[in-house]
């Protein structure tokens, strides 16, 4: 791996609700090198978004990071004072959310919003700020950027709005961008444009990227490494192609088999039975066991971490046939 940027150890983020403690993130560990693109994949409720929010210190009550460590460029982020966190957020760690219609302020021009982001971290003159904003918009593929600064978000299409959100994230040349389902709301032709641009931008600027998505195919075309989450845990990780070619964890296998693109047209898909368990009442041991074709008696106990060079899986039966 290239020089280490982020090291997450045994991160636990819980939501203390009236119905009980929801362990949305339960013992997540991973490392990320500078300039590396990490794909974080899982279904709804797997904890992938909460992991992203935890990294950037945006977990709202009743959620709380209850344990573990997030070391960013040698600095511990868990327990960092809010003012310190604000200094990092937007400057060295930025985030892009799923729905740009909801994250951009509808009553401010794009230019004003970008200026606010510039000035939040020092900034300099207004003129320099506008220049920076226009240059960044050009980088993300918005034509005639200087003129578009005076436009309002509703004057942009969905794809263009997401480009604006990406431009805001890029403004300060952050070391890390966390992108939470940034292309899910977009059409496939626009998604392809943004994927191609993101990959290039990350490579050019040396920005590390955590790309959170439910879509294995999108992630596989973009990321260097893959993390698969289930019920708040990372159940498998490794280089993208290696994991997808021969997944160790039966859940990863099941996700792949669920894709119509992996089957012959009209053929029955090899589906995963059942549905994701409620985080309030997880089964003992491996949370995937009730849906798992490989499950045995031993799966009622906590699964071991099985490692291979560059790879890891959380499973009692990881090394069994993966076909």
């Amino acid at each position: 791996m290239t020089r280490l940027l982020l090291e997450v150890q045994d991160l636990r983020t819980h939501f203390l609700t009236r119905a009980g403690v929801v362990k949305a993130v339960e013992g997540v560990s991973f490392a990320l090198g500078r300039g590396e693109i990490l794909g974080l994949v899982g279904e709804s409720g797997s904890g992938k978004s909460v992991t992203g929010f935890s990294l950037i210190g945006l977990v709202d009550p009743p959620g709380k990071i209850v344990g573990g460590s997030i070391r960013f460029d040698g600095r511990e982020l868990v327990g960092l004072a809010p003012a310190e966190m604000r200094r990092l957020r937007g400057k060295r760690i930025a985030m892009v959310f799923q729905d740009p219609a909801a994250t951009l302020n509808p009553v401010l021009t794009i230019g004003t919003q970008m200026m606010l982001a510039v000035q939040a971290h020092g900034g300099g003159s207004e003129r320099a700020g506008r220049d920076l904003a226009a240059r960044t918009l050009t980088r993300v593929g918005i034509p005639d950027a200087a003129a578009r600064l005076d436009a309002y978000p509703h004057e942009f299409s969905g794809g263009m709005r997401q480009r604006v959100a990406i431009a805001i994230a890029l403004l300060h040349g952050p070391d890390l961008i966390i992108a939470d389902e940034p292309t899910t709301a977009l059409d496939v032709s626009i998604q392809a444009q943004i994927l191609a641009e993101m990959k290039q931008l990350a490579k050019q600027s040396g920005t590390a990227l955590i790309w959170i998505s439910h879509d294995l195919a999108t992630v596989s075309s973009l990321a260097d490494r893959l993390l698969v989450m289930y019920a708040g845990r990372i159940v498998e990780s490794g280089p993208v192609a290696a994991v997808l070619r021969a997944p160790l964890h039966p859940y990863t296998r099941g996700l792949l088999d669920s894709l119509p693109a992996m089957a012959k047209p009209g053929e029955k898909l090899n589906q995963i039975p059942g549905s994701t368990p409620s985080l309030l009442s997880l089964p003992p041991g491996c949370p995937f066991a009730p849906r798992c074709p490989r499950a045995t008696e031993v799966c009622r106990t906590d699964p071991p971490v099985v490692t291979q060079p560059g790879r890891m899986a959380l499973c009692h039966h990881a090394l069994e046939s993966t076909t």
Partner: protein, 327 residues
């Protein structure tokens, strides 16, 4: 195979409703846009007995509007929809039970105040397909067939997950014993593993019941998986239509080609570079479609001809219909 359902030169326009506020604004000199949106323009197609026709396109291309006209729940502005030779609608009202629809969002399409047993039984009782006394039995049977516990009949929609609700929506549609099922993005809001379950259920029921289907989706791989034939829409018109295997293996229209190239594929080889050839530009507004071929501003093959003259949807030697001057 004969056509069971067809659209003949159907067009659908939506006019903006002029509100009192708009009138006042207009009186004060503000510009109020009253241009109608033409969602579907001059589309002809047929759905053949027993086949599944896939309808793909990006948001705003008119696929759902076309689907709703074919389902008999939206009247065309021009042209006609025929189900075995007769219109499925009179005025604004649907007059047949032979077509049923499964909608995208099972959170919005099920009445939250009705127990799902009542939801499934309501249509068949109203149309005399089952007596009130026999209805619970029928409901139990349908719940079983869609993979739910018959005891769930007394539950409300909020007690179910998204996947389970979509099973209920399928049961409700099929309990009407339709010949044609229109599915509008039935798996779009579901997680991958649940999507696979619903697709399997769809394939199984389609075969068991000999259903004819119109399957609308923005997801090209889902459409490929379930369809015999496929129609690709762009800005209200069909640009390519033919056997699914052929269209996917050798797309002819530059838009179909671009769309297929835009789909992220699973990269199983770490040396394979990201190979997108995305379509450039954005969808034009349906309020002011470009002249000539609507795709020409984004098309790599566009020439003067494309800017001036709209290419007709015409058959090629293998039977595929393509609307392009250069394909």
């Amino acid at each position: 195979m004969s056509a069971i359902l067809s659209a003949e030169h159907v067009t659908r326009r939506f006019s903006p409703r002029i509100t009192l506020g708009d009138r006042i604004a207009a009186a004060l000199g503000a510009k109020v846009d009253r241009r109608p949106v033409q969602a579907v323009t001059d589309v002809s197609l047929e759905v053949r007995q027993g086949e599944t026709l896939g309808l793909v396109g990006e948001s705003g291309c008119g696929k759902s509007t076309l689907g709703r006209m074919l389902a008999g729940i939206l009247a065309p502005s021009e042209g006609e929809v025929l189900l075995s030779g007769t219109a499925p609608m009179r005025g604004k009202h649907k007059t047949t039970t032979r077509i049923q629809t499964v909608f995208q969002d099972p959170f919005a399409s099920l009445n939250p105040r009705m127990r799902i047993g009542e939801t499934i039984a309501e249509g068949p009782i109203t149309h005399g397909l089952v007596t009130r006394a026999r209805a619970p039995e029928m409901v139990a049977e349908w719940l079983r067939r869609v993979g739910l516990d018959p005891a769930f009949a007394t539950r409300f929609p909020h007690q179910f997950s998204g996947g389970q609700r979509q099973r209920v929506a399928i049961a409700r549609a099929l309990a009407m014993q339709p010949e044609v099922l229109v599915c509008d993005e039935p798996v779009a809001s579901l997680d991958v593993s649940i999507q696979a379950q619903i697709l399997n259920l769809f394939l199984e029921l389609r075969q068991d019941l000999g259903l004819t289907c119109l399957f609308i989706s923005h997801d090209l791989s889902v459409v490929r998986h379930v369809s015999d034939r496929v129609a690709v829409m762009y800005l209200g018109r069909i640009v390519e239509m033919g056997e699914a295997a052929r269209v996917y293996a050798a797309p002819r229209h530059p838009y179909t080609q671009g769309l297929l190239h835009s789909v992220p594929k699973l990269v199983l080889d770490s040396n394979a570079a990201l190979e997108f050839r995305p379509i450039t530009g954005e969808l034009p507004s349906p309020l002011s479609p470009p002249p000539g071929c609507a795709f020409h501003p984004r098309c790599p093959k566009a020439t003067e001809l494309c800017r001036g003259e709209r290419p007709p949807l015409s058959p090629r030697e293998d039977g595929t219909l393509v609307a392009c001057h250069h394909a």
